[in-house]
């Protein structure tokens, strides 16, 4: 196999259709006659629904049916996370969700639904219905640590103190280690805020009956998992559901949860299989889908005079909201990552995942690591400063060394990735000159530059099952279609998969056609896309299946050329004789001959599953340069450079796109985004795109992405994770740069004018005598 397409900036295969506006997303495919579903959400943060009087709502012309939580006769609790299922009950996700509930646990919980012939009737009925709910209100709790207190309201009876998950990691002996003389202690609290994915296509799904089954078309990352969960939620056989995933307008992890597919399917079934559509309004997407966990950290480090770590402790409290979703996985990931980034022989770590009466936190690009990286890299900066060391040198000295091996994951650091990334990024942004230039500034407007780093686990092995399946079917002209369980969600999975197949089979890229839309009736089983595993995992099944297909092609070629298979190869769509390089026949001639031959006609196709039992470290760093207008309490990002080692880059254009997207999400995370709730009522305050400050075109500088390509030896094509990593190091780099500019190092996010005003005032940087 030679790399003709791998490593090339091939234009994404769906770009033309997208640029023409003819790609169909769920709403574009749905028949106009669909009945409209609107969900009735709780307007209390914790309570019991005593009654819902549906009489008036049902009278609204156009209303077909009103369902309430009391109509749910069978209570099938179900899990929602897009995790591979486990046949071992001990490893299954917590099943704590109902299609509708009479025991709402957050403002926005689902307690009923309206079905109407049109959206106006649905919204009229909904506003009537909202006033017809009688609640018994209960006290609520919004913060994780408060929820763990003895007298806090309990959300789920099986989870005392609202702790849904707790884990510890201990290494060496911290207590002894800190007795070493001459240690410097640095201790800090670091706090991150809840944010939302903000994919531009809201979650949408529709369902209808077909035969004795229900078809669900859903904007999801995980069609096969959706089928399983809808089965669990309805108490019906999983095979009774067929899930179709069309093109989707972004996911970022929100659509890695099962959202409203169970409710929509259930309603269709109640209505005898009528076509029903649930197009979630933006306001509900913010609070009734999933959000990023707010996590609070406490980290302490004891350092020797040479800047090495003698001992470290780490504690984190992870606010999970009202339902388990991804359970303890996100908190655990941060805890496990911490001692690997800057290894230290003596370490105590502990983390809790806590139920609160807030919107449900789930997967979101970075899966706990943007939060953790913020805490880690704020703290690292603080440690370097305490030691009077250059922050970059301090990192180089303490980071995971080349050859580092992690026994549980079997991950290994094969190359000098960190230093290579630092060197490249520092050169691009002009780090060393600027560090010097920005020292000791005075005046109202100041600049700063800083760096931060991370490591990231590509896939989910060995925590969960890693499996990928691929089917490749050859046409009469030698072109192929392929199908994968890994979904195209905008990241370009279809394109990189096609590049791999073209190179592995040996045919031109324009002969490789993705069957982009997954259909659980047709697509081989796969768990979808999540983590940063798509390119890594699909690579295994693609390579295996492509090789199977190639074997069949060459066997067929033997039939028509009489040459032994071991002397044959496929190059650029041509069957060649390896011994002299002669072109014997085209792949098209071969496919046509094999299908229509009267002796041994065969449809050339291959399908296989590969179970992956490896994982890979992915690395990178971010350099950020800022300007701070102190009296105006504003930080402006001037330049940003991310450098990533994601192994072999399959497609530089798509890889760059992943980095830009992550940087952008990181910029909003650092400077402006925060979902808020009213502490008095538990009601969300800013669940719309105006009040929630995701960054606009005018809030970004040019974004720079660079790569270090150390081929990953465990991988089918040398790749490792890139989808999530770019968001991880951005916020701490910006925080550290603001610190360099002003001397004020802030331990919470976002670093918005509100935060800067408070911090600058406290530090006496701004004269606030008149603004009491």
């Amino acid at each position: 196999m030679s790399n003709k397409y791998i490593g090339q900036a091939v234009k994404r295969l769906d770009a033309r259709d997208k640029a023409m506006g003819r790609i169909k997303y769920a709403d574009d495919l749905c028949d106009k006659g669909a009945l409209i579903i609107r969900v009735l959400h709780s307007t209390v943060a914790n309570g019991i629904v005593k009654s819902i009087d549906t009489t008036e709502a049902e009278k609204v012309p156009g209303v077909v049916k009103v369902f309430t939580c009391f109509d749910l006769k069978e209570k099938h609790y179900y899990p929602t996370a897009g995790h591979p299922w486990s046949t071992d009950p001990a490893h299954q996700d917590i099943a704590d969700r109902l299609i509708m509930t009479d025991r709402p646990l957050f403002y926005g919980d689902d307690i009923g639904a309206v079905v109407a012939e049109n959206e106006v009737a649905a919204s009229q009925a909904l506003s009537i219905l909202e006033k017809a709910v009688v609640y018994e209100e209960l006290p609520f709790v919004l913060e994780a640590q408060e929820a763990m207190e003895e007298d806090a309201p309990l959300l789920h009876e099986k989870y005392p103190n609202n702790v849904l998950g707790h884990s510890e990691v201990h290494m060496g002996n911290v207590e002894e280690a800190i007795k070493e003389p001459g240690l410097t202690k640095v201790e800090g609290w670091y706090e991150t805020q809840p944010v939302q994915h903000c994919h531009i296509e809201n979650f949408i799904c529709y369902a209808y009956g077909e035969g004795d089954r229900t078809v669900i078309v859903s904007s999801t990352q995980i069609p096969h998992i959706v089928r399983r969960v809808v089965g669990q939620a309805t108490g019906m056989d999983w095979g009774k559901f067929r899930i179709i995933k069309p093109y989707i307008g972004g996911g970022f992890g929100n659509k890695q949860d099962v959202l409203y597919e169970p409710l929509t399917a259930w309603i269709s079934i109640q209505l005898g299989g009528r076509l029903v559509k649930l197009d979630v309004p933006r306001e509900e997407t913010f609070i009734c889908n999933r959000i990023r966990h707010a996590i609070k950290y406490h980290i302490t480090s004891w350092m020797r005079p040479d800047g090495s770590f003698a001992a470290r402790t780490f504690k984190a409290w992870c606010n999970n909201g009202a339902y388990s979703s991804h359970c303890h996985a996100i908190a655990a990931k941060g805890l496990n990552a911490f001692p690997q980034l800057y290894p230290c022989d003596n370490f105590d770590g502990e983390t809790w995942t806590v139920y609160t009466n807030r919107s449900v936190a789930g997967a979101m690009r970075g899966y706990g690591m943007p939060q953790a990286s913020y805490a880690f890299e704020c703290h690292t900066e603080d440690c370097a400063r305490a030691m009077g060391m250059d922050p970059l040198e301090f990192r180089r000295q303490n980071l995971m060394p080349v050859g580092y091996y992690h026994a549980f994951s079997k991950n290994e650091l094969y190359s000098d990735s960190f230093n290579q990334c630092f060197d490249k990024g520092a050169e691009i942004i002009g780090y060393f000159d600027k560090v010097e230039k920005y020292k000791n500034q005075t005046g109202d407007i100041r600049r700063g530059i800083a760096v931060s780093t991370y490591w990231y686990n590509t896939a989910v092995y060995p925590i969960a099952l890693e499996t990928s399946s691929c089917r490749i079917v050859m046409n009469q002209d030698g072109s192929v279609q392929f199908q994968l369980g890994e979904t195209e969600i905008g990241q370009g999975a279809d394109t990189v998969a096609a590049q791999m197949i073209a190179d592995t089979v040996g045919i031109p890229l324009d002969m490789v056609h993705p069957m982009s839309c997954q259909d659980t009736d047709i697509t081989p089983f796969g768990t979808g896309v999540y983590a940063s595993r798509g390119t890594y995992t699909l690579g295994f099944s693609i390579k295996q299946t492509s090789m199977l297909l190639k074997e069949k092609i060459l066997e067929a070629a033997h039939q028509f050329t009489r040459m032994p298979v071991f002397n044959l190869d496929i190059v650029d769509g041509m069957i060649i004789r390896k011994t002299d390089g002669r072109e014997l026949m085209t792949i098209g001639e071969l496919a046509l001959s094999k299908l229509y031959t009267t002796e041994g006609s065969q449809h050339l196709t291959a399908e296989s599953t590969y179970q992956i039992k490896s994982n890979a470290y992915s690395f990178g760093c971010c350099f950020a340069e800022v300007e701070v207008d102190i009296p105006m309490c504003r930080a402006r990002l001037l330049n940003i450079v991310n450098v990533h080692d994601c192994g072999q880059v399959i497609n530089p254009m798509l890889a760059e796109g992943q980095v830009h997207g992550g940087q952008s999400m990181g910029i909003g995370y650092a400077l402006s985004e925060k979902l808020m709730w009213d502490t008095k009522t538990g009601k969300p305050l800013n669940n719309n795109l105006l009040d929630y400050k995701m960054s606009s075109f005018m809030d970004h500088p040019r974004l720079n992405a660079a790569f270090v390509e150390n081929y990953e030896p465990t991988s089918a094509y040398g790749t490792k994770g890139l989808g999530e990593p770019p968001v991880c190091p951005v916020a701490p780099a910006i925080r550290n740069a603001i610190g360099q500019a002003t001397g004020i190092y802030i331990n919470e996010l976002p670093l918005s004018p509100h935060t800067l005003f408070r911090e600058f005032t406290e530090a006496g940087l701004i004269d606030d005598s008149f603004a009491e």
């Binding site: 106006v120 105006l690 009040d691 960054s695 606009s696 809030d699 509100h754 008149f770």
Partner: protein, 295 residues
């Protein structure tokens, strides 16, 4: 699909006035960038509306016979910004409305709507206050003119009689002559945002450009309705253009503004930036007018 009970489309100003009288329950719909959003939110769902959006006679900027700048109420923000009369005489208004939302909002949003909704955060409002704009209303008994400071009654309430629609906004010659203004919009992002606080300052310098002949300053989101800081204006009147005077002027604005605490921003932050904005905006005005600080 909007939950609209009935839509009455006005074909002329007279027709609009007639529709106002015929349908007293109906609300006025201009560009709709606020009203349609409020229908969807439920706040105005199920109501009757009189659409005046198609009245092209209410679009455009001109100089009338009294030498007022006359801005038709349905002139969109984008057209105000591009208008040569605005650019020549009151460029700050074009700049201010060029900070509303994003380009698409500026294409649909009208200056009449921006003032009639009575919202303190409207980007045009602080500038119109600071330039002593006159609101022209047309009703059954003809045309009525109201100074903008009287037009705003309280939050979300303006002086429009049940038979009236707003037809124009006028800037008198005495207001715009030799006057240079600057607007600062303080918001949490640089586009698609509403003002946390907005500050519009304009100045006329003395003939020798050594002192301030007249300074006016208007704020949005510093009180329930757009306000002027008259005490600061009085203070600076006739004063020399010095760093010290400008600073004092800026601090004096706190006498007249009263921003509140909300989850969108704290009172302390708003007070602080109000002062910083006043200082920076006035300095910009001096520069635009060709003056020099401590010159």
């Amino acid at each position: 699909m909007y939950d609209i009970k009935a839509l009455y489309e006005a074909e002329s100003v007279e027709h609009a006035v007639q529709l106002r009288q015929e349908h007293p329950e109906a609300q006025i719909l201009a560009g709709g960038s606020d009203v349609l959003v409020q229908i969807r939110e439920g706040r105005r769902a199920g109501c009757e509306f009189i659409s005046i959006y198609m009245l092209d006679e209410l679009r455009g900027v001109s100089i009338d016979e009294e030498e007022n700048i006359r801005i038709g109420s349905l002139t969109s923000f984008s057209h105000i910004t591009k208008d040569p009369i605005i650019q020549k005489y009151i460029n700050v208004l074009g700049e201010a409305v060029d900070m509303v939302g994003g380009p698409q909002i500026r294409a649909i949003g009208t200056i009449g709507g921006n003032t009639c909704n009575g919202v303190t955060s409207a980007d045009s409002a602080s500038t119109l206050m600071a330039w002593d704009a006159i609101i022209e209303l047309t009703g059954a008994n003809g045309v009525r003119r109201v100074p903008i400071k009287d037009f705003y009654i309280k939050a979300k309430v303006v002086d429009i009689k049940p038979d009236e629609i707003q037809t124009a906004i006028l800037i008198p010659k005495a207001s715009y002559e030799n006057c240079f203004g600057h607007y600062i919009k303080y918001s949490m992002r640089n586009a698609l945002d509403i003002a946390t606080t907005g500050c519009s300052v304009n100045a006329v310098l003395s003939a020798d450009k050594k002192s301030f002949e007249r300074v006016r300053i208007g704020y949005g989101v510093a009180a329930p309705i757009p306000v002027r800081a008259y005490t600061a204006e009085e203070f600076i009147k006739g004063k020399e253009i010095t760093e010290e005077n400008i600073k004092k002027f800026a601090e004096t604005v706190l006498e007249d503004i009263n921003p509140r605490d909300s989850w969108r921003a704290g009172k302390a932050l708003r007070r602080h930036i109000s002062v910083v904005m006043a200082e920076r905006a006035l300095k910009e005005c001096v520069e635009l007018a060709g003056g020099e600080i401590n010159g």
